[in-house]
Amino acid sequence: MSIVQIKDLDLYYGEFHALKNVSMNINEKSITAFIGPSGCGKSTLLRTLNRMNDMIDSVKISGAVSINGTNIYNPTVNVELLRKEIGMVFQQPNPFPKSIYENVAYGPKIHGIRNKKELDEIVENSLRGAALWDEVKDDLKKSAYGLSGGQQQRLCIARALAINPRILLMDEPTSALDPISTLKIEELIQELKEDYTIIIVTHNMQQAARVSDQTAFFLNGEVIEFSDTSMLFSNPSEKKTEDYITGRFG
């Protein structure tokens, strides 16, 4: 069953046509990877799914994005609740200048969880989920800015997990992580798939091949090919895809 349905989506930054007639159905409880060269629009498409592009004034969107059959660009949609259902991890670590604990507790708190015990539990579970708990469990009160880049990014993942979303958008979540943490996150992603729908942007084709069920290949704002990952990597139907995944392309 497809939980995300994108239909005839066009997106402009002012005059610049960043997404061109994108259509795509994403299955529930699956992992979808977006790959493609820098600037091809992967992050842009990801941001249309939780309406983060609302923040950019120059953005113009046409077409439809439906989640669970509801067009999320429908004016009656509650954007905040939408985003609670759709967690997001960014390309660059962006912790708040708060303590580690407060970073993770931020989401649950704004969604109304006050109970200290409950919060403690969420914080611990989320940090464990992001493979960070062991490193920080004694320093929860310390500023997140004292962590290394990799630790910061894992903290951001923990923060996203803490709101218990249905869909998880990840924009190159491991590009700042070492292979071990990356592996852990990849494993975690596989686990999360049991309950969540995951969409991941990655530059690392091995990663896409390893973790995802389906892969979309983008070029210049267009979806060139979207199919089962094993298919796309072993037997791409498009010449451009083949050129890209074999590294012949540039």
Partner: protein
């Protein structure tokens, strides 16, 4: 040869850096020294006249019996209204302009308007306060009228400083908050304001100090020069420290000029305590990235 060239050039750049370092340091010291000279002058004039009676007496025609009690009380009364009010209005306005206002002509107008208000001379605020608060609203020459006038006077400074502080918060932090399903207001309260607070505090300290030290508009609004009762409500008459000091400084008797200096010392002490509190708050919240 290239190496030698590079070294010569490097020496020049380093020398330039050293020279400018010295220049920048002397700029800073210039301010510090000016302050030092001012303080020495004031202290040598006024310290001898500063004692407990001076703090607990009212003004008098006799220099040695003169005290600053009513003026201290008046200043405290005025600031207890002006500080919270201007802070709330100022920060609210800054939030509105930075976080909510669309880029249309109206909000540009408000922005230009605020920048311009910051440049309106204090004496003009005096005329405004006299007409609006004293006469039209009928508050009379009261604590309330004075406080509201001072609030309007320092408002633009707080707004502009708060705006700059809010602007400096990176957009990635706002994005993180929005992506977690926080609405704008929650993002403002929980992410933007905590980070912007140090900058907002700096602007507020500067403007509160200004309100405490301002003379001209209160002359016009009508803080009185001689009063022996302390205000007991916002509609009471009052005087403030700079007015009392100004009155003393204008008297012909030499002794009163020392009394004025003693008053200035008390005023500076009050400013210092305010600054200390604000700096304490600022350092507590300041986290550098």
């Amino acid at each position: 040869m290239k190496q030698l060239d590079a070294e010569r050039q490097m020496r020049r750049r380093k020398r330039k850096n050293t020279i400018f370092h010295a220049l920048f340091l002397s700029s800073t010291l210039f301010g510090v020294i000016a302050l030092g000279m001012l303080l020495i002058q004031i202290l040598s004039d006024g310290l001898g006249w500063l004692n407990w009676e001076f703090l607990t007496n009212n003004a008098s025609r006799k220099a040695e019996k003169s005290g600053i009690k009513a003026a201290i009380a008046g200043t405290l009364w005025m600031m207890s209204i002006t500080a919270p009010l201007s802070f709330i209005i100022g920060v609210s306005t800054a939030i509105y302009l930075e976080e909510y206002a669309k880029k249309n002509w109206f909000n540009r107008f408000i922005q230009t308007n605020i920048a311009n208000l910051a440049g309106v001379p204090s004496i003009v605020y005096g005329l405004l306060g006299l007409t609006i608060f004293v006469r039209v609203f009928g508050f009379g020459k009261s604590v309330l009228a004075g406080s509201l006038t001072m609030t309007l006077l320092i408002l633009p400074i707080i707004i502009v400083a708060s705006q700059e502080a809010i602007k400096a918060i990176p957009v990635t932090q706002r994005n993180a908050s929005f992506a977690l399903g926080a609405n704008r207001w929650q993002t403002i309260i929980r992410v933007v304001l905590p980070s912007a607070l140090p900058g907002i505090m700096t602007g507020s300290i500067l403007s509160f100090s200004r309100a405490v030290g301002e003379t001209a508009p209160l002359i016009v609004v009508g803080a009185v020069a001689y009063i022996t009762t302390l205000p007991s409500g916002v509609f009471d008459k009052f005087t403030v420290m700079p007015i009392q000091i100004y009155t003393w400084a204008n008297l012909p008797q030499e002794e009163f000029h020392h009394v004025a200096a003693a008053g200035i010392i008390v005023l500076l002490f009050m400013l210092l305590s305010m600054n200390a509190i604000a700096i304490f708050l600022r350092n507590k919240y300041q986290k550098k990235n």
